[in-house]
């Protein structure tokens, strides 16, 4: 009977964590799919083309800043990116937006400032996010044939939404698209949350917290924690705050920069947009770049 009660305890802990992450993430996924639905109905290709420069570097830089106007976290950014790329956003800008927007946006800037104050953690978080996102976007754009990285985005058989449709009708269309997209992206998210909650129930996290001081190992430990926790980027600054004093500054930055780009649930959601090779790049490039940047900070500063 002992083993049953232990199994039940674990199942109960799993369900509590699963529902906790779901309840916290669902509003943000819904906001992302609503944004996507309204972009589909109210934005035409021409207006997007006016904003985004055609050349790669310009596209990537604009992509990294676009989060300031679309404040989405790492759940909502995936459907929105797919929608924008379907509307003709170039790959370099799309990937940069996907990587940068979850951290480089007004909500996260505010929450980071609230947690750490306006100082070097806030400044470096945004700077590193932008740089790593731009490099990742540029590497993607060097791919000769983007279709090898992207899942086919099925073309609509219909023309652009009729401008003549009355406002309420267009809002209704946007809501239907948002619901469909919630179901489409939601299944990836829920699958990711199941894995994240399972790992949190079964894999001890204490070891991750016991390697706080090595310049390299501390970075890897907090990045692993960011992946496993899969916490929304809008609130991760408050969690990072609890590592100050024990963990190196570089590792805290790694948590704040890499976490919004890649975690279990967002990586699984990438699979709804990119081919396997594309998903691999999207996970590995930010990983390597974040390790390089933050270990460099650990070794060369005395913060």
């Amino acid at each position: 009977m002992e083993i049953f009660s232990r199994l039940f305890d674990q199942l109960s802990t799993f369900t509590t964590i699963f529902l906790g992450v779901f309840i916290e993430a669902a509003p943000f996924l819904l906001l992302g799919t609503l944004a996507s639905g309204f972009v589909e109905v109210f934005f035409d290709k021409d207006s997007l083309a006016r904003i985004i420069p055609r050349n790669r570097v310009g596209g990537a830089i604009v992509g990294s800043l676009l989060g300031l106007f679309f404040p989405v976290c790492e759940c909502g950014v995936v459907p929105l990116t797919r929608r924008l790329m379907k509307k003709g956003m170039p790959l370099s800008a799309g990937v940069t937006f996907l990587m940068a927007a979850p951290a480089f946006n007004p909500i996260v800037i505010a929450s980071t400032a609230a947690a750490f104050g306006v100082g070097r953690v806030l400044f470096l978080r945004m700077l590193l996010t932008a740089i790593i996102a731009i490099i990742t976007g540029l590497i993607f754009s060097m791919q000769k044939n983007p279709q090898e990285l992207l899942l086919p985005i099925e073309m609509d058989i219909h023309q652009e939404p009729q401008i003549v449709a009355p406002l309420m009708e267009r809002v209704r269309q946007a809501l239907i698209i948002a619901s469909d997209e919630f179901f489409e992206m939601g299944r990836y998210m829920i699958f990711g949350i199941v894995i994240a909650a399972g790992m949190q129930t079964l894999v001890p996290q204490t070891w991750m917290l016991s390697v706080a001081s090595g310049p390299v190992i501390s970075v890897l430990a907090l990045m692993a924690l960011a992946i496993v926790l899969s916490i929304c980027s809008t609130v991760d600054a408050f969690i990072a705050l609890s590592f100050v004093g024990t963990f190196t500054t570089g590792s805290i930055l790694a948590f704040l920069v890499f976490g919004p780009m890649v975690d279990i649930k967002s990586a699984i959601m990438f699979m709804g947009v990119f081919r396997k090779r594309g998903v691999t790049y999207l996970v590995l490039l930010p990983f390597v770049l974040t390790v390089l940047a933050t270990v460099f900070i650990n070794l060369n500063t005395s913060w």
């Binding site: 369900t15 509590t16 964590i17 669902a26 819904l30 099925e154 489409e184 829920i190 917290l209």
Partner: protein
Amino acid sequence: MNGVKGMKGMISSLHPLHPLHPLQNNMSLRSYRSFQALVLAAIGIFLLEKIWSGTLFWYINQRYLILIFATGIGFLALAQTILASRQKKDEHADHDHHHKQTYSRWNLVIIALPVILGVIIPQRPLGTAAIANKGMNTNAPLTVNGAATSLELASTDRTVLDWIRAYNYESDVTKFDGQKANVIGFVYHDSRLAKDEFLVGRFALNCCVADATAIGMIVKSEKSASFADNSWVRVAGTVSAAEIDGKKIPSITAEEIDKVSEPEQPYLYP
């Protein structure tokens, strides 16, 4: 009905392995829409019920109350929109076209999974069972102004979190020695403690239970063994400094320990 007939005509011309082909475990657009509305409404009601019953705070920080309320209403509004669109005969098959891979029963089940789990598995807040993985954290999360507020409180008004924060903030923790403490928490017999000791613990969380960390104060009492893990107690006594793994944490020499029922908000928010 024309729209649905149109879909059916299109479906029958598809390759048998195509996801929308009738052989592929799919349903008609109209019935898919009905179930989609049902699942959206179920999620909305699920969230609102959590707020209504007060169990929302078993999962997330109280500061999300309004966001979750708005989301619950939002899901109900979407359900209503989907339900209404079902009756319109000019269903926008064009928009649905590129989502056709999602019209499967399994997709509906996956999205409904949180509600299904929430209904069939008895719910309760995180307990001591979770400490095995999450560990007992001796470094409480500090917010910028938090420590100062904790110090201003009368010693008997401090929560477990306030005490841990005060200990992290002050370099000389002996200044707290002799102060009276009166805290509520769950009982946890940590293997690092002596027989006549246990921890009175709480989970502190910023965002949701995923980032919950267990924090605790040592309680010294001869009756330690008579309190079961995960039961809730109120401990009153005198504070002195103790150590676990080289880290100073507060210890209470208990004068009084009462069993209490679990508080409505089981977690503390830094």
